[in-house]
């Protein structure tokens, strides 16, 4: 898990001598334009670029990226880094055999690429058709104030994605024109994509178990119940 929370900037994966000049250049230009708004970054060589920006610079990041040619809006969502408080207790005993018994005390929050400090992180992706590269943006949101400026004035497509993020995670977006529920009925209680939102059907009836451990047909098996 440690290699996940990589330190700042251009550390390609261990002992990989290759560097990604194109993405390094994009990162350098972005950093020079945004100033100290860039909190962390991660490059996977030949594949992808992650940039974590300050919440105060979230809107500016979109504008800067758009002016750099990243005009295709891919998606905007969020990640809840809290380890599920239900652990694997919703699983059947077969799963426990495979996965081991669940840890007793809750695990610490470990953020992914480009680091992070808070439980909730905004996640957005823009793409440049001319450069053929995408940037994944992340932004920490403090627990006591889950708001961020809206991107919908820069990328009109962010409108719906922010509505979705609002109901799924309970965020709010300053300046959003139409903050109503996207998917859920208005009387729905809770934010489903938060990790502490339980799937009640699973708690009532436990998961029947991993079926993949069943032997394939023709493979000798002492139980003989594989079909």
């Amino acid at each position: 898990m440690d290699q996940l929370s990589s330190a700042d900037t251009e550390t390609p994966e261990e002992a990989a001598p290759a560097t990604d000049d194109a993405r390094e250049a994009v990162l350098a230009e972005f950093t020079s334009r945004l100033g100290d708004g860039v909190l962390g970054s991660h490059i996977r060589v030949g594949d992808d670029l992650w940039i974590r920006v300050d919440r105060a610079h979230w809107l500016e990041a979109a504008e800067v990226a758009k002016s750099m040619g990243y005009r295709f809006f891919d998606f905007l969502s969020a990640i809840d880094w809290l380890p599920s408080p239900f652990g694997r207790d919703m699983d059947a005993q077969e799963d426990l055999v495979v996965a081991g018994t669940p840890a007793k005390e809750p695990e610490a929050i470990v953020q992914g690429y480009a680091g992070g400090d808070t439980r909730f992180q905004l996640l957005a992706r823009l793409y440049s058709i001319s450069a053929g590269m995408g940037i994944t943006f992340k932004c920490d949101l403090p627990d006591d104030d889950l708001t961020a400026p809206t991107w919908s004035n820069v990328f009109a497509g962010a409108n719906w994605h922010e509505r979705e993020a609002r109901e799924m995670f309970g965020f709010s977006f300053d300046g959003h024109p139409n903050m109503i529920n996207m998917y859920l009925p208005v009387d729905f209680v809770g934010n489903p994509l938060r990790k502490d939102f339980p799937l009640l059907a699973r708690r009532v009836r436990p998961w029947p178990g991993i079926v993949d451990v069943e032997p394939m047909p023709g493979v000798a098996d002492e139980e003989g119940e594989g079909e």
Partner: protein, 166 residues
């Protein structure tokens, strides 16, 4: 139809009535999810051709329909619309629940937004299993429904007052 309502329908007449009802089922197309495409293949494609069974799949409104095929996932948000649709249909009305989602929730058995079975909302006559069922399976379901209609006692069905859906 006074005979039906008073419960004094002679047997041959009842049989004739049932045969004619059986072969003129007006099916309302209520496509929800993946199963709707297989229902479309059964209803609108020349290969499966549901009309040879006496099903007419073109009523424009549920008020003209005898049968509704619930083909796909019913979500909690959609549930009021399903109940309303059922209430709009004139009696005698039949429901085929097509596919695992409509039967019991299917692959979304643990989802927070899916109704686990349309029979929680409206009475279902025939369940067609599968995810999605092949068009042939839906045709088999329709044949089962026709058998059911053929053996139905209309007077019995009418005896107990108006049908109320809670």
């Amino acid at each position: 139809m006074g005979l039906v309502e008073s419960g004094k329908l002679p047997k041959p007449l009842a049989k004739l009535l049932n045969i004619s009802r059986k072969y003129s089922i007006w099916a309302y197309q209520w496509g929800l999810a993946c199963c709707a495409i297989e229902m479309g293949a059964a209803f609108a494609s020349p290969r499966y051709d549901v009309m040879r069974l006496g099903v007419i799949p073109f009523p424009a409104s549920p008020r003209q329909a005898d049968l509704v095929v619930i083909a796909g996932t019913v979500t909690d948000k959609l549930a009021p619309a399903v109940v309303r649709l059922y209430e709009q249909m004139p009696d005698p009305k039949y429901v085929i629940s097509m596919g695992s989602c409509a039967n019991c929730g299917g692959p979304y058995w643990d989802s927070y937004s899916v109704t686990k079975g349309v029979d929680q909302l409206i009475p279902v006559d025939v369940y067609v299993p599968g995810c999605p069922p092949r068009p042939e399976a839906l045709l088999e379901g329709i044949i089962l429904l026709q058998e059911r209609i053929a053996h139905e006692d209309m007077a019995e069905r009418w005896k107990g007052g108006p049908i109320v859906v809670s």
